[in-house]
Symmetry: C2
Subunit: 157 residues, 2 copies
């Protein structure tokens, strides 16, 4: 499925989007995930892209404006026994290009994911957001999410 | 992989574990997910089990004590571009049978999942917990998790 909001097109990512995606993550100092445009790291991104593409549950999307990658998000559909065998969509790795923020691209991407979930009969959409990102929290609440849970993480090694 | 802690064995769930698993979820009034032992609902659980079993990313486990199902958890491995193409394990649907709580079964299941993640070279383990479940939060912090995120959810339809 693709999505148009004024001049924004959201579509599944292709391998030739990878350099722009990596540059976008590398420019996100706040994220602090150690992402880099260093060509030595590029094969790691290609490997991850291939894993995501091969997964029936995970999908990587990009937001395109005028032929440029201006945002990205990833979705994952999980099925569990609880709720009579219900499915949820987890939204991850939502990112808008630094110079493109405040223009509704993030909202368009989240609304796209919600529409995708509804189209597949999924009953819940969920995501986690760093506890320090208060403006992101207001953003998600405006879109209709409830901060009903705590997100616990543990780094390994 | 299987795991033994004193007398607890953790292993992948089989289809013949389903009645015990459904009974465990149905007995969890707090969870409030509408689970039921009603035979009419059973095909929904079978369908969900089949989806989980077919997924390369998702795995459903049970904790067995003396041949009885006394707990369950589900894991999902996600790969993203961020963090140079890193993988995370999401732990979901952690449940200990009502009459078996306070005996270390939950901790054994979480430690099993962490060991699984380490064994696969996964760099992060994460989960969300209802904001009202303060005792669960203390439990996860004791096991080494940090409540660094907020978990946002939205019910659809």
């Amino acid at each position: 499925m693709t999505f148009h909001a004024s001049d924004i097109l959201i579509r599944q990512a292709r391998k030739d989007d990878l350099p722009a995606l990596v540059a976008m993550f590398a420019a996100d100092a706040l994220g602090g995930h150690g992402d880099t445009n260093d060509p030595e790291a590029f094969p790691d991104y290609v490997r991850a892209f291939d894993v995501i593409e091969a997964s029936p549950d995970q999908t990587l999307y990009i937001a395109d404006r005028g032929g440029e990658v201006v945002g990205t998000l990833q979705t994952m559909v999980t099925t569990s026994l609880t709720g009579r065998g219900s499915s949820s969509m987890i939204i991850e790795a939502v990112q808008t290009r630094v110079d493109m923020r405040g223009q509704g691209i993030g909202a368009a991407m989240i609304e796209f994911a919600i529409a995708e979930a509804k189209g597949r009969g999924i009953r819940r959409v969920q995501l986690t957001s760093n506890a320090l990102r208060k403006d992101a929290h207001r953003f998600y609440e405006r879109l209709g999410f409830k901060p009903s849970h705590l997100g616990f993480k543990m780094a390994l090694k």
